[in-house]
């Protein structure tokens, strides 16, 4: 396992997350991510072959509900939480189809 810093495309990640970063911020985040990766790299040095993979640390499974209808919100209350609406609809800046 090499100790060379992981090359991360901050600009790409920022674009995916719709974040407009200044150059200074990008440099700052790059440094912080590099630190995180160093930490994660320690885990890669451990033998985890005998440990089952998990996506959850909560010791629960099969949390389900029965297929029963419960009341929805009043439309005005639903729309009222949004920054913008028009008639019965939520309204957003125009998007490409």
């Amino acid at each position: 396992m090499s100790n060379k810093p992981i090359d991360m495309d901050i600009a790409h990640v920022a674009k995916l997350a719709r974040l407009a970063l200044t150059d200074d911020e990008a440099a700052q985040f790059a440094a912080q991510f590099a630190h995180l990766f160093t930490y994660i790299r320690q885990l890669q040095e451990l033998d985890v072959d005998t440990i089952p993979a998990t996506a959850q640390v909560i010791p629960l499974r099969n949390v389900m509900r029965d297929d029963i209808v419960t009341p929805s919100l009043e439309r005005d209350a639903a729309l009222g939480n949004a920054p913008d609406w028009e008639g019965p609809y939520f309204r957003t800046p125009r998007i490409l189809e």
Binding site: Q56, V63, M64, T70, S72, E86, P88, P93
Partner: protein
């Protein structure tokens, strides 16, 4: 250049087609919240903090949706996962208020399996997974376009959605159509969805590439979207195969892209992509714990599966002496198959039952814009009518009239026959009188018959039937006419 073109033209190509089918599940409530799952409600009246992604709300899995996906998987011969989980698919588009869609990435509920076509060919499946449907964006139009806004209805956001992914085993547009019909039949038998393509409860994307015939080459894959009927899937694939053939024969390369089917113009065009290289950054949804499905629950679901379309077709062929064509049509929809069997149980006339259902009943349903589900006609009504024809109570012609009334009004045939005075006339005296009138009224035809014109006889029979409004027993009319004309 000409030489290259000539060489390229000599190559014959074959299509390689795979389909992704999205099916909205027929649950009462949504996938992760208790909002009603219903098409056509007033915009944004079926929404709550969970399906609007409001802070602090938590999703909880709908047990029934998991069951429906697993039953579909079992019906199609898939393996059901012992452990499965949900992941977040991240993207920015206002059709999901959370900026992600809950889906399944690497641990789908079902893998493998196949859809069997009527020919017996098996189209293998890659996987079946469960996710949530998105809301509906309303673009353009009137003041809204001028205001450069998009309007959103989240009633559909969070509706349970099953995605069925096939392997690229389909080799023609018609085969793709057969695949969809076979899949739709299974889904409707299972009752997992109402499978209405025009309402969007069944949606299909296709990917298609071409390769030189006989090779295992992998061509550039084109994805086609926006096909709203089985017919448009077939048409879009036909168009796209021709387009790619033309590109290749011109010595050019097919460019990898997503294309949209334009139903009106009958062509596909490259879709302006929102984000070319999709990077959905899937990760396990921390709000949802894994599903563990033990053998016991899977066995219980398997035991609840109904007889499936192909099994039913084969049984109909063996048990009722139907033609392959009749058996295919009768078992295409579960309601038709069950109606047929109920009719046969009442009258024991499978051949006649098939003829009526696929002929006059279907025509009457179409004429009145009805389906077998929606009509009030009971199987015992049709069975009674079939018996009446068999026993000579009504003529075949009068029965057609009765049939339409049964389909339209759901009344008992005996009542309709009595009220409309449609009972077959087999009374000898009445038939004699009828024949006498026809002979008196048609002297030219009588003369023509006597000079050996056989057609004139049929004309006289026709006149007698017409005069009796189709009620006369046609065999008795023939006998009486022959006797009188000597």
């Amino acid at each position: 250049m000409t030489r290259v073109l000539g060489a390229a033209q000599a190559v014959a190509y074959e299509p390689v087609i795979g389909l992704e089918v999205h099916v909205e599940l027929a649950t009462e409530s949504k996938m992760f919240c208790g909002c009603r799952n219903r098409f056509g409600a007033e915009p944004n009246t079926l929404v709550c903090p969970v399906c609007l992604g409001l802070p602090g709300s938590l999703p909880v899995v709908n047990r029934r949706a998991v069951e429906l996906v697993c039953k579909t998987g079992l019906a199609l011969g898939c393996s059901i996962a012992h452990v499965s989980k949900f992941d977040r698919k991240n993207y920015f588009y206002p059709d999901m208020p959370k900026n992600y869609q809950i889906s399944q990435y690497d641990m789908p509920l079902a893998t493998g399996g196949a859809v069997t076509l009527p020919s017996g060919k098996r189209i293998r499946l890659t996987r079946i997974h469960l996710e949530e449907d998105t809301g509906k964006n309303i673009h353009g139009g009137g003041a809204m376009a001028a205001a450069s806004a998009t309007l959103v209805d989240y009633n559909r956001a969070g509706v349970p959605l099953m995605e069925i992914v096939s392997q690229p085993d389909l080799t023609s547009p018609d085969e793709a159509g057969e695949y969809l019909a076979a899949l739709k039949a299974v889904l409707s038998y299972l009752g997992v969805s109402d499978v209405k393509m025009h309402e969007g409860s069944l949606r299909c994307d296709a990917n298609v590439s071409l390769r030189p015939v006989g090779t295992q080459d992998v061509g550039t894959k084109i994805e086609i979207k926006n096909m709203n009927s089985f017919r448009s899937v077939v048409r879009a694939l036909q168009y796209e195969i021709q387009r790619q053939t033309d590109v290749l024969r011109a010595g050019e390369r097919v460019v990898q892209e997503t294309r949209t089917w334009d139903e009106e113009r009958g062509l596909t065009y490259a879709t302006r992509s929102k984000e070319q290289a999709h990077d959905y950054r899937y990760f396990p949804d921390p709000d949802l714990v894994p599903l563990h499905l033990d053998d016991e629950i899977v066995a219980a679901w398997r035991a609840e599966l109904p007889e499936l379309p192909l099994a039913k077709r084969d049984r109909f062929l063996a048990a009722y002496g139907l033609s392959r064509y009749e058996a295919d049509l009768l078992t295409g929809e579960r309601t038709t198959a069950e109606f047929f069997e109920a009719v046969v149980a009442h009258c024991g006339e499978p051949k006649a039952a098939a003829n009526w259902l696929l002929g006059d009943v279907r025509r009457a349903l179409d004429k009145h814009g009805l389906t077998l589900d929606a009509t009030r006609m009971r199987p015992e009504h049709l069975a009674t009518l079939i018996c009446q024809v068999r026993d000579g109570v009504v003529s075949g012609r009068a029965a057609k009239e009765v049939c339409e009334i049964l389909v339209r009004d759901g009344r008992h045939p005996a009542e309709v026959v009595a009220e409309r005075n449609l009972a077959q006339v087999s009374d000898r005296v009445a038939i004699e009188a009828l024949v006498g009138e026809v002979i008196a009224a048609n002297p030219e035809s009588v003369a023509a018959y006597r000079t050996g014109k056989a057609k004139a006889f049929e004309f006289l029979v026709g006149q007698a039937m017409k005069a009796s409004r189709g009620r006369a027993n046609v065999e008795l009319v023939r006998t009486a006419l022959r006797a009188r004309l000597g």
